[in-house]
Symmetry: C2
Subunit: 687 residues, 2 copies
């Protein structure tokens, strides 16, 4: 059951797709007050209560014990003490003495004190008293999530090639760099489906341009790569460079499509190109106009994009930078003691993403001019919506790869996200794991973290272990930053082992794709904490380093340097598959309980649940090479195993076709039956 | 066996106290080359080889898989991708196919590529070809460490009160703040032995001054606190404020005791007071002069100090700051695109601790003027040596508490260290654990991390769990930074549970003190990785989150938020003691192997080894209240347990007195025998 409560005069975010009439009585579970103009909700937390949700944020799967905020920010460190990352996902499930879900549809700054000030108290504070609040009930956590997903609409579905292994680096400077990456992968039989273009492909960081010196024949390059079954995926930034003669800038100014300051002048921020204007993606016409710009790259054969810097990230507001330079000049010749020096560093540190600067520009919306800070968390969502809506107009029958850095609930209908600028830290490998379920809860299924870490120098073993987790992420991309160690897998000593491990992804493709599609079409989870399924198992909620992946699998990746294995909790008897490559793995049946499971550096342990089936293809070096019609059904049969298999052409949008579903059943005698309208060749392996 | 190899013309660091004649042949185990004037040592690492050492640094107990450096730095983040922290501890033990220790006595910048570039290679690079290298052999890791400790001399021994619980905060502004902290602890029966004075007790951050507005009767305060059995411990900074009329400054200039630039003028750095000069602690006379300054505070009743900012930390060199301000002014009115903006941020980011600034000043040493960068890593060591040597002169019969932030091998003879500016992160609780054994290896026994975390806001559960680890650290101090959440334990909801847990420390005092003293007097380890003792256990070296503490105990603290227990590996049968307070604990005998051990938030699991004894006193609210003559011997008896008990008055230096040793034996029938010249009342608890 979903109940809606409206406070004040909320801004319409379009997060929700269902019309629900607001209740006229006060909401259950939470105490609601207004203090100093802020809307506050609170409740007591029982000692054993669990709190799930908040999408992209720091810390655990269970969010207890920290103060979180929704204030989309370009935050490259993802440290334990951060409150916000790039997104605003104001959905929580409290489970325990009472179990309920709550979604705060509020586009401004909101904080969640989840047992931070007092360990037994949940306090949620909205900066202004205008919001729609939804209370959700259901038979358990998973059913509450499904209800929520029904409320916010179907998740974005990418083309199937986007489930292949992808390679990126901020630092590929020119055509030759791209060709080398492709060649090295193909030569070493390292599977690959796409290569990313970071900001250097553009002419001086201008959106929807190509640097013709670095990429003299861009369309030829796109074509050559596609001939090798490799797609190029360019980045699009939120800020449009201020430059006379640059058509996007000129047209945007002429039509009034950029965000303006209080005097009606275009607001000037500094980002990669220096001075930029922000397209007013909260304005319908401006959004349509900005979306249409993607045609420039679609015309060149591009089939996928990533939208970046759309919190929006502001390196500096031009007026603040001017003031800062003056203030620093005044320090000349002074004794910079603690106070004065802190003034100096304070000036510099407050240049970027200063929340005061969010108050300096406006959106021209259906309900009039709205100051940016009041709707700050909607920017990335609407930039990606601009693209998603455009693709529906420009190429309605084709799936386009699209993911964003910033997001708000609702954006999951237009694209996925990557989890932003993580670091080459072992702890971020674990954070990657922890973030996945909460992202799925808000409908973001096409997601993953930068394999190997974006910032700082990686190590070979970190990349190897990270791939073993990212193996199961729909978005499986190796990406790193300018100036860091090169981390394409062929740079390291164990190329053969990398080829073995990467090959497994292509073997898993039928399963991963099928599970992704079912999660998208039925509003379900792809990655789940154990407690979502093993609801009666009191220990399951303690497990913060294992996940269920789809219907059949549990994963327990190694995330500690130099470890040759790890502890794993099995809520029930399971079959361990210890993979070294798609064809080289050993298996073992393990009883329920605690185990220490060995896993050498290039070994990946995966657990198959009882009476469940894992589909394995014969693999390939790119997704289109994978034969989806010849699979092996690996079944751990106790009473009788079954699997519902979704499959389609991976390109078009015929999602509702009943022919997309087939069913595999393996009975106790090991006999395998397939029911479905498509011709399949299925072998079986019984564990 | 220790062999010495001399390369070039090494600077005498006084790290080593034994005269050893250098060998005239080439060294074993390592390949040695010179490249571009750099001295390089390398060897292959076997797949299972372990690498221990490097003292205070990031990452694991086993150091494999990263690039470490010795370049003492004011590094407040301690992130996985840092290469150096505050210290230079160039001692390694490689254990496996071949087992040996190696110490590079070299005061300049040195890097340790421990399987970073290639996983199977160790490469050590000294920036200049002048060093003494010692190769150590022994019957195992622990014996190699003991040999090394013999080489570098006996570890510093603090007064016993320094083993009590200590409270600090950068932010105690005045006498009233200090009195409140004392009062709240005493009122709530929270044990406490000292309160720290951070930089605000000084008059405008001038060393060896008191701010008389904030502390109008400093000596009275010291006296009142001592009447409550609480010592005050003031901070001393490395930089001496440039200020006419300030005696320390004027005398230092007059006598030429500050570090000078190439033109012979005092080098000007910026730190807390603004412009400062650095005392030339590498100069004998200057070191003596600086040490004598501590008399100012000894005279006021002070009995302990912490030396800070002595890497030395430089917020800015004055000349660089002047140039930076000019360069920033020139950016006015320009379009700050990626390159220009990075120039701006680059200027600001390179102000602090710029290694180029280390080349701008000189030390006047026994062998003439030496440019600072060539002996950079000796500064903190010699600042603390200045104090340690002074205390020997000024109060030879009394132990003075002394610890430092920066250190080099050899400094362990003059004081301990705290592990610097950590953060209120759960990962730093684990890092605290991992750092302890490698610090012990280089003789630093009096050490610990800031409980609850120094930077950023803590949480109640983090403080509780951190105390459960710090329980065993000789230095057990709660400390945090200006602007962070208050974290004295009485600020939280579970004061009673904190009192219970803190009380255990005072119960453990006889054991902790005895084990500390034996480690100091015999050059042994206090905190040990399991593999140092369980040498035949192939899994022991995999354990990176448990430690042996002294002869009897193994600890396995919980370091994960919301966890209600953790996995523990027992290399042999052990007795689990699950403490809630000194008097409230349950016990259980666990077999060797892997276990999941429950430990609620205020429960601390401790493991007693077979045939070992844990001494427990009756507790107290300060160390002097603990009755060291009435103890309980908790024995886990299999064949017969015994314990060698060291005890002295905790104040003087009669360390070698044989009467300090007693022996407790508990036989299989549970009969307890005490042999020793002092009268003891011993009860027993047999597990």
């Amino acid at each position: 059951m979903i109940r809606k409560y409206t406070y004040g005069n909320p801004f319409c975010t379009d997060a929700v797709v269902k019309e629900i009439t607001a209740e006229d009585h006060s909401l259950p579970y939470l105490k609601q007050t207004v203090q100093d103009g802020r809307l506050i909700f609170s409740c007591r937390l029982g000692e054993k209560d669990l709190v799930y949700g908040l999408g992209e944020n720091v810390r655990g799967i269970n969010k207890r014990g920290w103060l979180y905020k929704s204030c989309c920010a370009d935050e490259p460190n993802h440290l334990e003490d951060r409150h916000s990352l790039y997104a605003s996902h104001n959905f929580l499930v409290v489970a325990g003495e009472e179990t309920f879900g709550v979604f705060f549809d509020y586009p401004g700054i909101i904080s969640f004190d989840v047992g931070y000030t007092h360990m037994d108290e949940l306090v949620i504070t909205l900066e202004e008293p205008d919001a729609d609040v939804y209370i959700l009930n259901g038979s358990g956590i998973r059913s509450i999530v499904k209800e929520f997903r029904g409320l916010i609409g179907r998740s974005y579905i990418p083309p199937r090639w986007a489930f292949g292994y992808q390679q990126s680096r901020w630092g590929y400077q020119c055509e030759a760099d791209i060709r080398e990456v492709a060649e090295e992968h193909r030569k070493n039989h390292l599977p690959l489906d796409s290569i990313y273009l970071d900001i250097d492909y553009m002419e001086r960081y201008k959106d929807f341009t190509i640097d013709e010196e670095r990429f003299p024949d861009f369309e030829g390059l796109v074509r050559d790569m596609k001939a090798q079954n490799i797609r190029l995926v360019p980045i699009i930034d939120a800020g449009v460079k201020v430059e006379e003669g640059y058509p996007v800038y000129e047209e945007g100014v002429e039509k009034g499509y950029f965000c303006k300051d209080k005097d009606g002048k275009e607001f000037i921020a500094g980002v990669w190109p220096g001075q930029v204007h922000f397209p007013d993606v909260l304005n319908r016409e401006a959004r349509e106009w900005f979306g249409n710009q993607y045609q420039f790259l679609l015309d060149k054969g591009i089939e996928g994009f990533w939208n970046d810097m759309n919190e929006p990230s502001i390196f500096f507001a031009q007026d603040r930078m001017d003031d800062t330079i003056d203030a620093i000049a005044e320090l000349k010749g002074k004794n910079l003691d603690l106070d004065t020096f802190q003034k100096f560093t304070g000036l510099v540190d407050s240049l970027a993403n200063n929340t005061e600067d969010f108050k300096k520009f406006y959106h021209s919306t259906d309900v009039g001019n709205v100051r940016h800070d009041k709707v700050h968390n909607l920017f990335g969502y609407n930039m990606t919506r601009a693209a998603g809506e455009a693709f529906e107009r420009l190429c309605p029958d084709k799936r386009i790869l699209m993911f964003s850095r910033s997001s708000y609930v609702g954006m999951h209908r237009y694209g996925g996200i990557w989890t932003g600028d993580n670091k080459s830290w072992w702890q971020h490998l674990l954070l990657n794991l922890k973030m996945m379920p909460s992202l799925n809860m808000v409908g973001i299924l096409y997601t993953g973290a930068d394999i190997g870490g974006f910032g700082s120098d990686t190590t070979e073993d970190l990349v190897m272990r990270w791939i073993q987790l990212a193996m199961f992420s729909p978005l499986m991309r190796n990406h790193t930053a300018l100036g860091t160690r090169m981390q394409e897998v062929y740079r390291f000593d164990h190329t053969e082992q990398f080829a073995g491990i990467l090959g497994i992804r292509y073997g898993l493709l039928p399963y991963i794709y099928s599970e992704y599609m079912k999660a998208a079409l039925f509003g379900d989870m792809y990655f789940m904490p154990l407690s979502f399924v093993y609801t009666e198992d009191t220990f399951a909620s303690q497990v913060e380093d294992q996940l269920l992946v789809g219907d059949s699998l549990m994963i327990a990746p190694v995330y500690t340097q130099n470890a040759e294995g790890r502890y794993v909790y099995l809520p029930e008897e399971m079959a361990l598959l210890r993979f070294r490559s798609l064809t080289d793995y050993d298996t073992e049946i393990l009883p329920a309980g605690h185990h220490y499971v060995k896993a050498g550096l290039s070994e990946m342990p995966v657990f198959l649940r009882p009476d469940k089936i894992l589909l394995l293809s014969g693999g390939g070096e790119y997704t289109d090479e994978v034969d989806m019609d010849r699979v092996k059904a690996v079944a751990f049969v106790k009473e009788g195993a079954s699997y519902e298999w979704y499959e389609d052409d991976g390109k078009g949008k015929d999602y509702e076709n009943p022919e997309n579903y087939g069913k595999i059943v393996v009975d106790r005698s090991g006999r395998c039956t397939y029911t479905g309208s498509r011709r399949k060749e299925i072998t079986t392996e019984i564990l």
